[in-house]
């Protein structure tokens, strides 16, 4: 699942730094709270959450086919990660990593066009473009 994390107070270049383990712990705690021991045990096999890109605030969560319903049901309730007020939005749930990365690429493409239309000066456009595309798809999940 591809998730976008929107913090409450916007930083100036709206980037957000969250270490992946705390994001993983926050999700696990919320599932334990909402789905109890049974839920926490059900998703433990093959559950991984990685926070990828500070600037575009995208995280990827991997879960097995049956228990992924638990995660989608928990995401709207996650309010606070690493003592920062956040709200999670699921952008895409796909079965393979390739699909997720393809989605992320054209998601960022859309983001760039948005930002380019607002900015006028040329060099700002170039800076934003290469910052967004820094994300490389070869990074594998832990």
């Amino acid at each position: 699942m591809v998730i976008e994390i929107n913090p409450q107070q916007q930083r100036k270049d709206n980037s957000l730094t969250i270490p992946s383990p705390t994001f993983y712990q926050a999700l696990l705690k919320k599932i334990q709270e909402l789905h109890g021991d049974f839920g926490a045990a059900a998703i433990r096999e093959g559950f991984a959450a990685k926070y990828f890109n500070e600037r575009t605030r995208i995280a990827i969560v991997r879960a097995r086919h049956g228990p992924h319903k638990l995660i989608t049901s928990v995401l709207p309730f996650v309010k606070e990660v690493d003592k920062k007020k956040v709200s999670l939005v699921t952008l895409y749930t796909g079965a393979t990593m390739r699909q997720c990365f393809k989605f992320i690429l054209n998601h960022q493409q859309k983001k760039i066009n948005e930002i380019c239309s607002t900015l006028q000066s040329e060099e700002e456009k170039v800076a934003i473009k290469e910052a967004l595309l820094k994300f490389n798809s070869t990074q594998t999940l832990s």
Binding site: F38, A42, E45, R64, H65, G66, P67, L70
Partner: protein, 350 residues
């Protein structure tokens, strides 16, 4: 990697058959015929001040049954026993203190079948022809059926001798016996005397009878559409649970089904023991005659079979997954009747 079901689990299912119709051509009787071994009978009589004596008597006098402990099964196959009791009158018997899902059980049906439900090991060392049970796909349980009344089942015949000495190898069981003599002058206790001479310890058991009256009860009138709520109310009433009296109570949100009337007294009668289907028939006739002469909203009769019986409904195999109940509810009023049959499910567990 396939992951197990974690969201909605399916409860073990059971089979319900509902049958409605006009009281004139009711066939409650053949449903009663189907269930041979009955353990618990309960009757609900709304709006009655005094229960007529003949209702209480039908299942009380001469309804004794006998408990015989550690009987070898070859006694039941011995020919003069068959000629004396099984051929004449209606003879039913059942093994108790044995679990149908892990031990070996025995039962005799009125039409003269001796049925054994055996585990794999006892079946293989018994040596009588049997069919693997429908519910276990790994052939862990077998059902052996011996027809006692068939005419070639006589001493001297190969089949008879083999059955007799093979049954010796089975372990001894405690049995319940209920025999109805063909005509009235033979006393039903001659079965007990027969076993007494053979030096088995025989106990006479009387069915225990309870009667209870509840006052000012909201009774739903019997309509053909919401049968389930009606049967549920019957259960609530028989177990004396709170019938959703006041407003919102924390404990239970149960309300009596809507079109109800208030009655001063409602009687609840319950018999427990070992009854044959003929005795239940007599009780139903008495109830129908009682319904005719006194005007009643409705009358309900609930009969529950044994949970460890080899054959549930008319030679259909019975099993005990987490609950082994088979029973039926009959509700009558002046124009129509309803039979609510509740059986164990027919699916074998995979």
């Amino acid at each position: 990697m396939l992951s197990p079901e974690i969201w909605n689990f399916k409860a073990p299912d059971s089979l319900v058959k509902v049958e409605k119709g006009n009281i004139v051509n009711n066939n409650c009787f053949n449903t009663i015929q189907k269930l041979h071994h009955n353990h618990l009978v309960s009757v609900v009589l709304p709006d009655t001040l005094r229960v007529p004596q003949n209702i209480c008597e039908t299942l009380k006098n001469d309804c004794e049954y006998y408990k015989i402990s550690n009987v070898g099964l070859d006694e039941l196959v011995n020919i003069n026993f068959i000629n004396a009791f099984v051929r004449k009158g209606i003879f039913i018997s059942l093994s108790i203190n044995e679990r149908i899902d892990c031990d070996d059980c025995m039962c005799i049906t009125p039409n003269g079948f001796l049925l054994l439900s055996l585990t794999k090991e006892t079946y293989e060392s018994l040596g009588l022809e049997g069919t693997p049970s429908h519910y276990y796909n790994t052939k862990q349980r077998y059902v052996v059926s011996i027809n006692l009344l068939s005419n070639h089942f006589k001493p001297g015949k190969k089949n008879y001798d083999r059955t007799k000495d093979r049954l010796l190898t089975l372990k001894k069981m405690t049995l319940l016996i209920n025999w109805e003599p063909p005509h009235l002058d033979i006393c039903p206790s001659s079965v007990a005397k027969y076993f007494d001479d053979l030096k088995f310890d025989v106990q006479v058991c009387l069915p225990d009878f309870q009667m209870r009256t509840n006052y000012t009860i909201k009774v739903p009138n019997f309509t053909m559409d919401n049968i389930h709520e009606f049967v549920e109310w019957l259960g609530m009433f028989s177990l004396e649970s709170d019938l959703g009296g006041g407003g919102e109570s924390y404990l239970s949100t149960y309300e009596t089904p809507q079109p109800y009337q208030e009655y001063g007294q409602v009687k609840f009668l319950q018999w427990r023991g070992f009854f044959s289907s003929q005795q239940i028939n007599k009780l139903l006739e008495v109830l129908i005659s009682h319904l005719k002469d006194e005007e009643k909203p409705w009358i309900s009769l609930y009969v529950q079979g044994f949970s460890d019986v080899v054959v549930g409904w008319d030679l259909q195999e019975h099993h005990y997954y987490t609950n082994g109940d088979n029973g039926y509810v009959i509700v009558l009023n002046s124009e129509d009747y309803m039979v609510y049959q509740h059986m164990c499910s027919k699916k074998s567990y995979k």
